[in-house]
Symmetry: C2
Subunit: 151 residues, 2 copies
């Protein structure tokens, strides 16, 4: 299996990673969630090379995660915004933040914390089944190969 074949892979983990499993992509997405929309801002914040950033933005647009929009004409300037598909990545980002804050603490405490917009209280994410409300753990939930597929 090569990296560029992942896009078509039967496994959803592989397909998902073909979009966001790259070194920089989730950092770009993070910035988008933080309201960063412009090339130069991203480039400065990330310290990524302009070349690679341009490439990632193109791919994210092609994958439907970002949308490129002119925010002015003359001179023509573009900004990047999350599409609905991109916004749907929020749970992944939040879960990742929680994992890192819990499992890779850094001295001086976390630089970013999850906070309720309404109450300003800190948030501790928990994954449940939308139907039953049961918590999702390795013990309660199984990722199983679908019946009519061969993996």
């Amino acid at each position: 299996m090569k990296w560029n074949e992942l896009h078509e892979d039967a496994c959803p983990v592989a397909r998902g990673l073909s979009v966001i499993g790259d070194r920089w992509t989730m950092l770009v997405v993070r910035d988008c969630f933080m309201g960063i929309r412009r090339f130069d801002q991203m480039q400065q914040r990330l310290g990524i090379t302009r070349h690679v950033l341009a490439d990632r933005l193109r791919k994210l647009e092609a994958d439907g995660v970002l949308r490129r929009e002119a925010y002015q004409e003359r001179p023509l300037r573009y900004e990047y915004r999350l599409t609905d598909k991109g916004k749907a990545l929020y749970p992944i980002l939040v879960t990742l933040i929680d994992w890192a804050n819990t499992n890779m603490p850094v001295e001086g405490g976390p630089s970013v914390v999850l906070t309720s917009r309404a109450t300003q209280d800190p948030i501790r994410p928990k994954l449940i089944d939308a139907e039953t409300g049961e918590e999702i753990t390795t013990r309660s939930v199984l990722a199983v190969p679908n019946a009519d597929q061969s993996d």
Copy 2:
């Protein structure tokens, strides 16, 4: 910012990605959750080169996500198992699966579905705050820079 500096970065997203933000790592972790423990099995399933697989396993062990354990002596053979820190990645994996199944459907339906171990019913993951039970969305929860830090 270079890739190998991410490990120490103040941002939890960056720190998390320094561990799992690599092309292959989450696929290795996926296999571990599926009960795959041995080098050759992984290598065959992933189609990754042995070289890269050995490197990823070493890194995951160094990062405390996997633990290498001898399952026999004479000849000495090792297998890899998730540590608690590794098991804590489950919500990320589940959320990723759900995102891909929803946003990157593949013809013939998903090859892997999330299922309740108890009832065999399909699971639809939902992220809530452990305290209030409120759903976590871009509207309800903010990832804010911590007070006593400059990002």
